[in-house]
């Protein structure tokens, strides 16, 4: 495909240069997101726009309504509008690659936030490290369980695993085992309960597992969305109790949604691993802004979000870093 | 006796064409008045004005001495006027009682008061000597019984005037007799009846007075005793011929062009056979429902045929419409707007419609636009179509007569052997009628056959070599030009049988 490029000195269309006047340090950033249908995306969207606006940057928002083609056209429109940088929450990993290429071909730095493209080599990519997040949350659980141990016997841990076809589920399970390996003398071999990311499956398998092993000491669920399911199994057995009360099982999860935040505050659960949305937003932004400052049009970088565990111990201090708690404080669960 | 309903100089025009002209008439309370006239004489328009379906252009109606100006059928119902139509307006999935009370269920404490409904319905049915339960579903009733339910509905609403429009068309003789008894009973109860029918004997038997309409005018009225059936027919047909039709310029040839044998389709046609010779115009006369248009559609392949054979120019005529057109058939349907023309398309596109495939050049059938323009232009000149630029002017913009010429012209582009003209002069002014007649003559002179279907007897006797008469799906007989007699033809159309051998040559 031969490209006949014709050089036209000067601007044939003398419209350039009239763009939005911005302060020297401020930039115009195009934020193209895929949709705002789940609470997680609402939180992510708010995190980005707030941070940008507080720093005095201009944000141009584009909602693709779950249409990859529309997102591509929107990003192209942003490029034509002369934005300084682009941040996208892509519809899926495949279209993300195409869009990153499109931006880089046009010398516009781009960062992909929250949902990684299938090809991590191009663009600024911020990804959450599931294993690390899980291991932080489980480490706290292990310490709690050991601290509250009655006798000398080994403790019995249990994990509800997700659909193992999903890399996220695998990462979370790996993190769980990695954390327990640090306490080889304190724990028995964990009991695995399959959920396939499905509440009904989880309910059936958990009931069977708890009936067979009524004396578990630690439970980790690979996703917070299963807490209501766990409650319905535990409550009739007297295992759904607050910290310090009789029958409390040391319990934690991962995701950090509003329900988990509420349970943590009420004392039913002990920790939850959280993607640090605010860190991710911050990281994506500073990387983009740094590239703009440096005049680098094709910045490529993978930024891992180690996440953190929100626990009964650090709840007061880090509550507002967890997106679920932010939503909770805005009355999300009351709606 | 007092006058119940009167018309004073009543007039109704559709787009400037009068359908009812300055009609003045009094209908006395308690009378049975028979209304007769040919199709298009203005009977339906008059009844539609009474029923509030259409509003008069001019003149006045009075109901019980008060000015009467119904804006809707509801107004008419409210005054006490009821219609018993050919097509009954019943909900067949509801019971008799529900049908009678359908627009105003009696209620008690907000619930439908079914016992009251049943009682009232039973009373009405008893009055009409209909011995069925009020809870019977209407769809289990025979047509005659359904009609009685309609009448019960009218009585329930205290109708003073009941209008029967061709009430006996779907009834058996026994049901008809029962209907007549009912009408007598209604009359005895002081109701006023308007009775419209093509069956003149019935009209004479039932009526106190008879009113004859022709071309929207009241041509005769009087006591029923003063009429006999022949006099009624004479009054309906009326005026003398002369000057309305062109001279025929040719005689039919001897060779048979088209023949139909034993055409039978249950409920529509019964053993219909006839021939058309080359150069012959065969008229087909029959009343509504006689099967004349239905037969044309069957011959053209639009509707199914159970038994019988067709042959054109010695070859059997089979297959679908396309195949029959290819064999040399052309069909000018009775509904020009819905079936004849592309009203919003240009005149030239209409003219080229039938023959369009002849203008394709391979490959891909590219249109030969030059030849197309030449041929359509020629056709316009040939047919004396009065229009502007035929390539842009839509058919809608033409007068009725010119529209009909476009329809005939599109068929002529393919030089068909047999033309079926179904009501070709309907909605066409007198001048254009003459041109269409002349065209039929020209087609015949060129050796084509023409099957000329019309409900205007006059134009058939004016134009045809022979006339064939149909009644209830059967050929009743036929007349050669020398033997044309309006009275005999009409009598045959009303059901009087004549040996058919005069027709099926």
């Amino acid at each position: 495909m031969k490209r006949i490029s014709t050089l036209i000195a000067g601007a044939a269309f003398a419209t350039a240069g009239l763009g939005i006047a911005t302060p020297a340090s401020a930039a115009t950033i195009c934020f193209a997101f895929q949709d705002l249908e789940t609470e997680f995306w609402v939180a992510g969207h708010t995190a980005i726009t707030r941070t940008l606006e507080e720093a005095g940057h201009t944000v141009i928002e584009r909602n693709a309504n779950e249409d990859a083609n529309r997102q591509l056209e929107q990003v192209r429109d942003c490029i034509a509008q002369g934005v300084d940088g682009i941040i996208i929450i892509p519809q899926d990993g495949e279209s993300a690659v195409t869009i990153v290429n499109e931006a880089q071909d046009n010398d516009v730095p781009i960062a992909v936030f929250n949902r990684p493209p299938s090809d991590l080599s191009k663009g600024i990519v911020v990804v959450a490290d599931n294993a690390s997040i899980a291991s932080q949350a489980v480490d706290f659980l292990a310490k709690e369980a050991i601290a509250s141990r009655d006798g000398d016997g080994k403790l019995t841990p249990m994990i509800i695993v997700g659909d193992l076809g999903d890399p996220n589920a695998v990462g979370r399970k790996d993190g769980f085992y990695a954390a327990l390996e640090n306490y080889p003398d304190d724990f028995n071999t964990p009991i695995e309960v399959a959920s396939d990311w499905d509440a009904a499956t989880a309910l059936a398998n958990l009931e069977a597992a708890v009936t067979a092993n009524p004396d578990i000491d630690l439970l980790f669920t690979s996703s917070d969305f299963l807490f209501p399911t766990i409650r319905s199994v535990f409550e009739p057995r007297g295992m759904w109790a607050k910290r310090g009360e009789e029958g409390h099982v040391v319990m934690g999860g991962l995701d950090g949604d509003a329900t988990a935040c509420q349970l943590l505050k009420d004392g039913y659960i002990d920790s939850t691993g959280v993607q640090d949305l605010y860190f991710e937003a911050e990281a994506a932004l500073s990387a983009i802004l740094a590239a703009i400052e440096a005049g680098e049009a094709q910045p490529n970088e993978v930024i891992e979000d180690p996440g953190f565990a929100l626990t009964s111990a650090n709840l007061a201090e880090r509550e507002m870093d967890m997106w679920g708690c932010v939503l909770l404080s805005e009355g999300f669960l009351d709606q | 006796m007092t006058t119940l309903l009167s018309f004073q100089d009543l007039r109704k025009e559709y787009f400037g064409v009068p359908a009812v002209r300055d009609l003045t008439l009094d209908i006395r309370a308690g009378d049975v008045v028979g209304v007769i006239g040919e199709n298009g004489a203005g009977k339906s328009t008059l009844m539609n004005m009474v029923g509030g379906v259409v509003q008069p252009t001019d003149g006045e109606m009075r109901w019980q001495g008060e000015p009467y100006r119904p804006r809707s059928p509801g107004d008419a119902t409210a005054r006490g006027i009821a219609f018993i139509h050919q097509e009954l307006n019943l909900f067949t999935n509801l019971t008799i009682a529900e049908n009678i009370f359908v627009d105003q269920f009696p209620s008690r404490f907000g619930m439908i008061d079914r016992p009251a409904m049943r009682q009232r319905t039973a009373d009405l049915l008893q009055q009409l000597a209909l011995d069925v339960s009020p809870d019977t579903d209407v769809d289990s009733l025979a047509p005659g019984e359904r009609q009685l339910v309609e009448i019960a509905k009218a009585l329930h609403r205290d109708a003073e005037l009941i209008i029967f429009d061709e009430p006996t068309t779907s009834l058996t003789p026994r049901e008809t007799a029962r209907l007549f008894e009912t009408i007598e009973r209604l009359k005895a109860d002081g109701k006023t009846i308007l009775y419209i029918s093509h069956i003149l004997g019935d009209v004479k038997r039932l009526s106190d007075a008879i009113v004859v309409l022709r071309d929207g005018e009241l041509v005769e009225q009087g006591a029923a005793a003063d009429f006999d059936v022949p006099a009624m027919i004479t009054a309906m047909i009326g005026r003398a011929l002369g000057g309305l039709y062109p001279e025929r310029t040719s005689e039919p040839r001897d060779d048979v062009l088209f023949s139909a044998r034993g055409l039978t389709q249950p409920g529509i046609l019964e053993d219909v056979s006839f021939d058309i010779r080359a150069g012959e115009i065969l008229g087909l006369f029959g009343l509504m429902g006689s099967g004349r248009s239905e037969m044309a559609r069957i011959v053209f392949g639009l509707d199914p045929l159970e038994r019988g054979t067709l042959a054109l120019q010695g070859r059997p005529l089979t297959g679908g419409v396309r195949q029959r057109i290819a064999s040399g058939l052309a069909f000018v349907t009775e509904d020009r707007r819905a079936e004849g023309l592309l009203m919003d398309a240009a005149i030239a596109d209409n003219l080229s419609l039938v023959a369009i495939e002849e203008f394709g050049r391979t490959p891909l059938a590219f249109l030969d636009k030059t030849r197309l323009a030449r041929r359509t232009g020629q056709m316009q000149a040939d047919m004396l179509i009065k229009a502007g630029d035929i390539r842009t002017q839509p058919a809608r913009a033409l007068s009725g007569g010119n529209q009909q010429k476009v329809v005939i012209g599109k068929w002529l582009m393919r030089h068909p052997a047999l033309f079926i003209l179904d009501e070709p002069t309907r909605g066409v002014d007198v001048g254009a009628k003459f041109e269409i007649y002349a065209l039929a003559d020209r087609l015949a002179a060129a050796g084509s056959g023409v099957l000329f279907i019309s409900s205007e007897l006059e134009e058939l006797t004016g134009m045809c070599d022979r006339i064939m008469v149909m009644n209830r799906g059967e050929v009743m007989g036929g007349f050669d030009r020398a033997a044309f007699s309006d009275r005999d033809i009409l009598a045959m159309a009303f059901g009087k049988r004549v040996p058919a051998d005069e027709v099926a040559a």
Binding site: T6, F13, S118, I292, G295 | L353
Partner: protein, 386 residues
Amino acid sequence: MTDSGPRATVSGRDEFPAAPSVRQRAMRLFLSDYFVLYLSLAYFLVLVPFLPTLSNPANLANILSNMWPLLVVAVGQTFVLTIAGIDLSQGSVVGFTSVIGAMLLATSASPDVLSNAPIWGLIIDEAGGPLANVPGGVLVAIVAMVAAGAMIGAANGLAIAHFRMPPFMVTLVTMIVISAFAIFLTQSENIRNLPESYIQLGKGDIVSVYFGEQAESRIPRRQIHSFITYPMLIAVSVAILAHVLLNSTVFGRQVFAIGTNRRAAEISGIPVRRVIVLVFTISAICATIGALLYSTRLEAGRPTLGDGNFLLDVIGATVIGGTSLFGGKGKIIWTVFGVFFFVLLSNTLNLMNLSSFHIDMVKGAVIVAAALLDVLRTRLIRGEAS
């Protein structure tokens, strides 16, 4: 009884004075083939002072590149609307055929993504699809896509023509079934790794223009914009072909005749059923070519391509162009202008930084306005004629 008197045509011609009045001129402009083009240009000129980006070359290149795939699909819809039908299945055909092309051509595939899909191991595996790296494979794959699309269109047409089912119902069912089938085939995953020569069909440019550096953004940016591209050549060819077919062939005349009055066309011996089947087949083939352009510009076969508001865009653009929803009136050139206006509209709404909800609301309102104009125009033409 024939008491509905003749609908006498009242000639309005002599009411008009010789010199055209302002009102008449306005009406003539309104009824002109180029009305929507004039409207688009006027819209463009009015907005340029407020949206300087609008006229910048990058944006013009965007407007053009967004036009081509939509135009191809809308051309197909034009045929269907002209016979007084509607094809709701075009979007699902886009998604389905994009999957067909991609699963045949992919040069590799990841088991992590696709191993649950029923086509895994059957058609596609780690080494890609059966036509990966086969010489001429791209052509074979395109033929397969078109064949699949044509079959769907023909099935629509047969159901509509032979069983006299309403097009709305038939194509609605096709839409649901085909899009579910496409999602089933890949278990809602996208198929990536398409060969470069295939992608070029959707992205490749032939003539690009370098405009120097753009000074506006903080990073100096090369300004090379594609104006003549493969999608442009493909779309323009499809449009020209369709124009010739509709305007200069016997088939085209038959399409108009059926759309104006199906009953009269049948009685006049037009092969109505055959033409209806062909028209729906053409519509689906156009959707398939659209699938080619959409899926290559996104570099993946996507079962969900053509979901959502896509149909609104297609039918909206066609109707804005002036093709009548009542049938009998349609021109490819109208559709070209309609698509142009529609893409321009979306682009300007984006440039105004409106939210997607507002954009869809405005688009919807414009389409309703276009449908109303269609009614008005039909009435005006009839009024003028009689």
